[in-house]
């Protein structure tokens, strides 16, 4: 048996779910990615990172147009990396906003909050320029602020 613990399988599933937003799609994505990993397992140093990348690549393959549009629609403004850390928001509201975020935004938050990666690490892991990530962070913070308190235009 290939050694993936229950916690690891759940973590990979959660990552797939962050991208797909549909449990059935996430499960299918995880299963096909594991199947893709198995023949190459002998050459893989970090199975978790490999399967995560496979999940991402497979997901991008099926959503290529949307991903390209999202990556290039805005140029990066001048913002700080700590832009998310001082957001204060009620959990219920955040759950609603989470559903409205794009897959790539949820993915960025997942890497930041669950895998505890810095923007530089995320940039290396996902192969996305740091500036693009910072831009995405900036847009996301703005969106979260607007949706959490549309009248005041700021966070709670």
């Amino acid at each position: 048996m290939i050694n993936f613990t229950e916690a690891q399988l759940n973590q990979l599933y959660q990552y797939a779910l962050v991208l797909c937003d549909q449990p059935a799609d996430a499960y299918d994505l995880l299963q096909t990615s594991l199947e893709q990993y198995l023949p190459k397992r002998a050459q893989v140093d970090d199975p978790m990172a490999y399967v995560r990348r496979t999940i991402r690549n497979r997901w991008i393959d099926t959503h290529r147009k949307e991903v390209i549009r999202e990556n290039y629609e805005n140029s990066p403004p001048d913002i700080a990396e700590s832009t998310l850390e001082n957001i204060v928001i009620q959990q219920d509201l955040l759950k609603k906003i989470w559903q409205q975020l794009g897959s790539e935004e949820r993915e960025l938050l997942y890497y930041w909050a669950v895998l505890e990666c810095s923007v530089t690490e995320i940039s290396q892991e996902l192969g996305i320029p740091r500036g693009t990530l910072l831009s995405r962070l900036h847009r996301m913070r703005k969106r979260i602020e607007e949706q959490s308190n549309p009248l005041a235009g700021g966070v709670l």
């Binding site: 290939i2 993936f4 399988l9 499960y27 928001i89 949820r106």
Partner: protein
Amino acid sequence: MSNNGFKKQIKEIATASTLSQGELDALRQTLDKQDTRQTPKEKIWLSGFAFGAIVSLILGIVFFNHKSSPDLAQQIANEVVANHIKLKPMEIQSNDFTTVKKYFDLLDFAPVHSKQFSLETKTLLGGRYCSIKTAPAAQLRYRDAQGKLYTLYQTGYDSSLFSEILQLKNEESIISRYAKGMEVTIWLEQGLLIAGVSET
């Protein structure tokens, strides 16, 4: 709220969903099944052996001029067992047959309570759309008191697809086949072709 609050909140949301026991079991089966795959070196040897075997088989067939007919029942058994092992998530989850039946309103037949499939000690868990030999089908999943899973596949009997199963001329006939160590029973009932598979 502290600076760590937002990160913690995101973590809580992103990790809230987990795989069901059934899904975990299915993934483990996938990993187990694939774990027996060969290394590249073994593959070369086995490919050579397989090539030799295939050539011998072809020569054998040509020599004896024997034409074998495909066993459709076995093909169905292979297909339903592969689906059963995959244990894809159910699209409708309910213990109520009427509720589950209503979900399959896109099919051109209505799933039935099978008389051949004893419901004693079995609880309906739900179902999902699937297919048998390309014919749209309903997949119903049951669990018995011991936790054993049963999958029942029902599809409208299409003579152009299934007439090769000659034994199923009447509703009393039941065909039994084995695939991957599991027994599959196939029968006709109320105009439907039904295949049942259970864990061994």
